[in-house]
Amino acid sequence: MNNLGLYTILLLGAILIEVSILALPLGLLLILIWYVKNGPKQIIFLLLIFSLVLSAIFNVPVWAVLATTAASFLLFLLAETVLPQKPVITFGVFVAALVFWEFSTGLILNFI
């Protein structure tokens, strides 16, 4: 099995943990780590799998999860491009993207 296959299984595990044990955006965290390690390759596939599975498990519209996840990812991408490449700043950008996902998803789901 290739890297992407294993990573997808890991991502599914993270989603299950997210809705069963620990309410933290672990799935998005894994996607961001993939981007840092492998670049934009297959990132849309991972974003799509994450949004599809999370929305199916938690009975929310796919487009809503995909919209907030994509927005958080693009925010991360923008910050990574603009800000200097220092470990502390990268960590801050990670946290900002995850917090943004939490807030935006909560907000959009409240309006639906």
């Binding site: 809705v19 309410a23 933290l24 938690f58 796919v62």
Partner: protein, 255 residues
């Protein structure tokens, strides 16, 4: 990349509008529900294990069992007292729809993936005739309301959610509105100044707003009475510990 993602969001939005996302979501739910149940149970097992080893051996387990038993007994006792006093009124209601006629047993299999939210996921959905607006109870304790339904799962909004607003009354007929706050506490609000609230009193639904009368909402834990304000309020402690919920019943409040 931005254009691709935006296009995907738009495509899925339209698929949602025409109801085609169900074809993807339903099989995914069927696959993941049993796995998720196993994850949830394992998580709870680990949590219990850690709780047990950090406290005196066996104390945690006994305390949990005793908390449940105590909560149910108190709820039952309070209900019986109330029923006794309202015998006449209940007789008149015999013709009205009663609870317990259409109970759907459900297992908790997860919670909201967002921090600070108070939704639970249960393993019964549309295929078991669960609908939005159905109430979720344990015995006669109201836990929440079904807010989203999938084919084989449903999302239950707990009373602690800020969207909760239930007309309520205490054992001593003091009326108010029970509402959730910040997803982690329940408040009895809009209680007129001068009304006597007592710590430990059981709070019931008053029968308005499509919620059947007499469902237990919790007990008064702390009273906040500021004479300068028009209303007094109280913090309500749920009788069923929300973080330990396992088996629930879904009922059709409308009969």
């Amino acid at each position: 990349m931005f254009i691709t993602l935006a296009s995907l969001v738009i495509i899925f939005f339209f698929l949602e509008v025409v109801g085609l996302t169900n074809f993807i979501q339903t099989p995914l739910q069927k696959i993941f529900t049993p796995v998720q149940l196993a994850f949830y149970k394992s998580g709870k097992d680990v949590e219990n294990f850690l709780g047990t080893i950090t406290s005196i051996k066996g104390l945690k387990e006994r305390e949990t069992a005793a908390t449940y038993e105590n909560a149910w007994l108190r709820a039952e006792n309070a209900s019986l007292k109330k029923l006794e006093g309202e015998n006449k009124a209940l007789r008149e209601q015999l013709g009205a729809p009663r609870l317990g006629e259409d109970l759907i047993l459900a297992q908790v299999i997860g919670h909201d993936p967002l921090l600070g939210s108070s939704d639970l996921l249960v393993d019964k959905g549309r295929s078991r005739r669960v609908k939005v607006g159905y109430l979720v109870v344990i015995k006669n304790i109201l836990v929440g309301e079904v807010v989203r339904v999938g084919d084989s799962t449903a999302v239950v909004r707990l009373l602690t959610d800020s969207g909760t607003k239930i007309p309520a009354e205490t054992e001593n007929q003091v009326g108010g509105i029970v509402r959730g706050e910040f997803g982690n506490r329940i408040i009895l609000d809009k209680v007129a100044q001068g009304e006597k609230l007592k710590v430990g009193e059981i709070v019931f639904s008053s029968g308005a707003a499509d919620i059947p009368k007499g469902l237990v909402l919790g007990e008064v834990e702390k009273i906040e009475n500021n004479p300068a304000e028009i209303f007094q309020k109280a913090t309500i402690k749920p009788l069923a510990p929300y973080d330990k919920l396992d088996t629930l019943f879904i009922i059709n409040a409308g009969g």
